[in-house]
Amino acid sequence: MDSILIAMILALLIPIYEAWQDDNIWQKMLAFASIATKTSIMMLVISVLRDDWSIGVVAVIILSVGEAGLMLLAHLIKRLNEV
């Protein structure tokens, strides 16, 4: 089962590289959306592997909080150049 997690970590490195290399702020936001979702899904996988439901509940909350944070940040950055 460890190989699944290693594959997920390798997939997580792709948006990290993108966030590092691309200077466009919207590309960075896309990378953030990808990372926030992937880390929460990894937490869910680990909670199932360990049969630990307290991690699972926290993973679900972090998944929704990550999306909420992304939306707030996107709205603020969108309005940055107005006014």
Binding site: I9, I25, G69, L72, L73
Partner: protein
Amino acid sequence: MIDNYIYVIVALLPLSALILVSQTNPYNALVIRAILGAIAALVYSILGGADVALTEALVGTMLAVTLYVIAVRSSLVMRLGILSKNSDSTEDYFTELIANLRKVTQKYYLRLELVEYPDRELLKQALLKREVHGICERSELSNMDNNPIYQTTIRVHRLFEILQTEFTFPDTEISYITIPSSEDKHK
């Protein structure tokens, strides 16, 4: 027993922290900070700190980054006072001047905010009252020539230094003015 993948996941944390400290644009750095928060929440939860992970996601990723974007947006700004109605003959020159100025301020991640005033007297008053960081107006002396010469007066020394070295636009003069610090008037 510690699984092997935990070492790899924990190694992501210093990696994203290094990416964060290598950023120069404040907004890009804040987005990377949100990424760091997401990875930190993952690390905390797999090491058994579910409550710490939840706090990191709520405070570190959402609240702190949102508040910092608002703070940076309202503080990293150059307010330039202009007259609300320019004479038609210099309109093109003026828009080009502002576009050039915007290019210089963007290099330093500053926003350029134009504040319009109805006449010269109010413009001068605004500069003296510290409502704006600088004013840009047509100088009265050069009205005879065909060439419009704009006079930009800056009251913040650092902004003056930046504009003096970076801003090279013909027929525009940049000067620095020291405004004596008045009593505890802090707007």
